[in-house]
């Protein structure tokens, strides 16, 4: 009897552990924890956040954690749209870096007019941002139309803007690099005087909240997953797969515009060939690190956003360890491959099965032990 009593909680414990381990959020949270512990071990002050003053004398919080939250914002925002596109279309948009350049360039064109260094801005910032939103959504609509109406592979369809995007961006401003004269424009990528927390963090939180509300108060999640899992069934249930895929791309286009605002605001100007370089790969990785299948279907938005931060955390950590910048990608790749491996649905399933077996074997051994004990008594 006593034997069984000790085994039962062990069994229960294993069930809970199995549930936790096989949850989609487990890998990204675990990765964040491990990164945090490693950092703490080498630098006890890693989590220390100090309140200082910047050059202009405004209060600003600083510390590695703030840096991570600040600089991961663009990837996190893009991960939102990328998750939807991945789920609905079963493919990825590789043009987001280039479309950020386009949207950013359009924003600068509105703000600065034809003069690359005007004394005042030519239009309110909100107007410039709305134009950027329209441009971003137009790019998304272009990609979305190719993928949904013409059934072109997402990667091929988005390859067009991936290739041409930065040239289009340069053309919008006739290859000049306008500088925004208004210090207010720098608020979006920096800080608002008096508020010590970097603005991108607020923007990111706002985007996540809006997405959470959309997912709660519309059927976007159900429709997108249905289309991604079984397009034919979805169609026979009255869903229009073409429209859903198209909408996913347009939403990503909107995310691109927001990311472009932050990116351009950080430097108050643009560099067509390097702005948001390779950010599409970071966003795709964020989706994968979150344990979402890149072939589409079921998705977990929060896991993708966490995935984006895992990636940023990793980058910041590597910088802290003074890894030579040329070796950086190799380190990143190693960690990423491990994370992606463990977050692959197949691997998680196998781990889950392993736990089941472990549980069964414990169950058996306890039964066996009980049997033997009773025999002994006889």
């Amino acid at each position: 009897m006593s034997n069984n009593d000790t085994k039962a909680p062990a069994n229960k414990f294993l069930t809970v552990v199995k549930k936790v381990v096989s949850h989609q959020m487990f890998i990204p949270i675990m990765a964040l924890l491990i990164l945090a512990i490693v950092n703490l071990a080498f630098d006890p002050n890693f989590f220390k956040i100090t309140l200082g003053k910047n050059n202009a004398g405004n209060p600003i919080l600083s510390g590695p954690l703030i840096t991570i939250l600040d600089y991961g914002a663009e990837t996190a925002i893009l991960a939102i749209g990328m998750t939807l596109v991945t789920a609905a279309a079963g493919g990825q948009d590789i043009s987001v870096g280039a479309t950020i350049a386009i949207a950013g360039s359009a924003m600068l064109r509105v703000l600065c007019g034809t003069n690359p260094s005007p004394d005042t801005i030519q239009a309110p910032i909100i107007v410039a941002f709305l134009v950027a939103c329209l441009v971003g959504m137009a790019c998304g609509a272009f990609n979305g139309a190719l993928v949904s109406f013409f059934k072109i592979q997402p990667m091929i369809a988005t390859l067009i803007l991936f290739t041409a995007g930065r040239s289009i961006a340069a053309w919008i401003n006739l290859n000049k690099l306008p500088v925004v004269p208004d210090p207010k424009f720098a608020y979006f990528g920096g800080i608002i005087p008096g508020i010590p927390v970097p603005t991108p963090i607020f923007i990111m939180i706002a985007c996540v909240l809006i997405m959470a509300l959309i997912l709660k108060f519309t059927n976007l999640g159900l429709y997108t997953q249905s289309v991604g899992i079984n397009e034919k069934s979805a169609k026979l249930n009255g869903i229009n797969p073409i429209l859903i895929k198209f909408i996913a791309f347009v939403i990503l286009g909107l995310c691109v515009a927001v990311a472009a605002l932050i990116k351009v605001s950080r430097i108050s100007t643009i560099n067509y060939s390097v702005i948001a370089k390779d950010i599409e790969m970071d966003a795709i990785l964020a989706v994968a690190l979150g344990g979402n299948a890149l072939s589409g279907g079921k998705f977990n938005m929060w896991a993708s956003i966490l995935g984006a931060y895992v990636f940023q955390f990793l980058t910041t950590t590597l910088y802290k360890f003074n890894i030579a910048s040329s070796a950086l990608p190799a380190y990143k790749a190693t960690v990423v491959i491990l994370l992606v491996f463990f977050s692959a649905p197949k691997v998680r399933e196998t781990i889950g099965k392993g736990f089941k077996k472990l549980k069964e074997s414990i169950g058996k051994s306890s039964k066996g032990a009980a049997g033997k004990a009773s025999e002994g008594e006889a």
């Binding site: 709660k216 059927n219 997953q225 899992i229 079984n230 034919k232 249930n237 009255g238």
Partner: protein, 504 residues
Amino acid sequence: MDEYRLLEMRGIDKTFPGVRALQHVDFTLNKGEIHALMGENGAGKSTLIKVLTGVYSKDAGTIRLDGEEVKIHSPQDAQNAGISTVYQEITLCPNLSVAENMFIGRGNGKITNWREMNDRAKALLERLDIPAKATQQLANCSIAVQQMVAIARAIDMECKVLILDEPTSSLDEQEVEKLFGLMRDLKAMGVGIIFVTHFLDQVYEVCDKITVLRDGQLVGEYEIRDLPRVQLVAKMLGKEMDDLSDIKGEHEAYHSPDADMKIFEAVKLQSNAGIKPFNFYINKGEVNGFTGLLGSGRSECVRAIFGADRVIGGKVKVKGKAVKIHKPKDAMKNGIAYLPEDRKVDGIIGDLSVRENIILALQVMKGFFKPFTKAQAYAFADEYIKKLNIKTASADTPIKSLSGGNQQKVILARWLLMHPEYLILDEPTRGIDVGTKVDIQKLVLELASGGMSITFISSETDEMLRTCSRLIVMRDRKVVGELSGEDLTQSMIMSTIAGGESDE
């Protein structure tokens, strides 16, 4: 008898996990004979063909070719032995020329003598009277010509046995005629042809003998003149005419003042799925059905009603009012629900939970901006899990981990939740256990007596007779008859499916 036995298959057994696909099947093919291999889906036709062509290895039995035992372990072995196959889908390379397609992958592959190849191809095309140039790109030929090129390729490999697996399903009537001409020529040359098709008319037009399989067993081999159509259909379906003529279904009569209101009516409805325009109506509380052999167009008809295929003609009325149904959502708005034939491909959303699968259709009807709360969704799901006795661990279990019968019940629950006025069930009982089948049949009758109109399609005529009060009979993609009242018997269904003996 001066018949020369070209191919003899004796005692062929083949077992797949859980299924005995072939049980001691014999098959004999003579020289210069066109031999039809008939049977409904799952009868074992394609398994037998695949054993013969080396795609599957047999578990037991012998294959003799020209009197000598041959061992066929791969498609290559079959080709070397002189057995060639032309499949339903054309398996050639459309971007190569006709001649290249005829000779690709043959010879010793070192050097290709283009001129010789083209000359040989030209000679062969002329001999078989195929209207194509040797150097023409294959993609530019019509489907029928492509099919013939595939046959020419097969024949040129010194073939003794030619297997044609549903070669006519994508051809129009004239193209079929051309193909038959070619088949007769080959027959005269002494090639033995095995012809697999679902079209009865074609069998009687071109074949000499028929071998019928059912449920993996040999039913028999018959001379074409000894086996009238009705008999053939009876053999395929496994019902003897005399036994069945007096079986009557247990119809529960339905009475209601509005029983003769036409819930749905279609005139000259036509879709892009290749069915002939058809007229159709259903009354309130009526259970009717489309019957016919596989490939006769049953499913295509109901898909056209639901707007699942693209509707290209015809007028539709719902409860007497003219409406337009272009897409499934239009049909749903008019109170029409459709449980599709292929559960896996068209029905379930595999990774989503039972709950999400159940609420999906109603949710779509309710609208994009009005999602059900979790509590509502759980209430709906739990209600129908209990009502239909769905065996699932919980409402959150992914539907793909349920058994086939329970998946089907979930899809049924999805449509019942919508409280449709007209429910279309396309093969709702296929591939599920007997208990569930009876459950579903009972449910159909119950729903109908509650005033729901139901169209029921099943490959099992028994089921249709038990549930339907009116049957629309289909053959070769057109409606050929309608049976109700006293005409609802197995024998009448069969003779209507088979069509007039006289129409040659």
